[in-house]
Symmetry: C2
Subunit: 132 residues, 2 copies
DNA sequence: CATCGTTATGTTGAGCAAAACATATCGCGC
DNA sequence: GCGCGATATGTTTTGCTCAACATAACGATG
């Protein structure tokens, strides 16, 4: 087996673009929706993800603006100070984009295994290949 | 059909990591190998890709260092000033990583189509869906 | 009507990767 | 041995994202 290749691992980033805007949706926003869905609060979601509230808020702003979709129902004031929940559209994005991402992840793993196999077998018969 | 979704397109980045090094190989280095293979020169390849020679050289340095593989045969001096060609290993990386990338690209497109379909059909029977 | 916790939003600073700039080295051919 | 064109490599500038900081608005509740 070709040494060195064992330590290597594939990584990928997936996102959606729309014209000028570099990334209208991707893993970060997906995680954010997920956290909001679990916590019922934008600030709590931000803290959970280890990002600033400022960034979380800005991300949502950009996503909703670019997609022209209302992802969240947000409310200020009240006993709890406020709350945020996903709209039906938001839930749909969370669910379906998650599936999309999972499918790509699966393909990357499979493609990587194929690649590994090809990189290794391509040297069969090269001599000096002492097995374990 | 849900409006807005037509303008959206999926993008992805794929790369290989090894421990501490963030990216030991990816699309940029693949393109670079490809251009070197076509031009027979590192500087010509850099110009072709619109990147500085400094960056191209550094990328090769990092890749060869992290992978512990000799990707290029480089020569200085001579009438032409110098030249650079891919080693057999270099050609193998070019070919096989290209296939890996192509497979992932295909999966992304397919996954995106599935996603699009799900995002659109999920609203059938919602009323107000006046066709073109 | 004062309090409290959350949403809302502008502003400034820090960190990092790429671009830009600057030289040095090599070696064949004339 | 001088020149040309490509490789080799250190240094400086910049540009962009995210973190950090600061402050306002909101509104149910006691």
């Amino acid at each position: 087996m070709k040494r060195g290749l064992e330590k290597i691992a594939p990584r990928f980033k997936l996102w959606l673009e729309s014209g000028k805007t570099a990334s209208v949706f991707g893993d970060g926003k997906w995680r954010l929706l997920n956290a909001i869905n679990q916590t019922g609060s934008l600030s709590a979601a931000a803290e959970k993800l280890g990002i600033s509230y400022r960034k979380a808020w800005g991300d949502i702003r950009n996503a909703e603006g670019a997609l022209k979709v209302k992802l969240l129902d947000r409310h200020r004031g009240g006993k709890e100070g406020g709350r945020t929940r996903l709209t039906e559209e938001g839930k749909r994005w969370l669910r379906e984009y998650g599936r999309f991402q999972a499918a790509v992840d699966k393909a990357v793993r499979a493609g990587y295994q194929d690649w590994l196999g090809r990189m290794q077998t391509a040297r069969e018969g090269t001599a000096g290949e002492k097995g374990a």
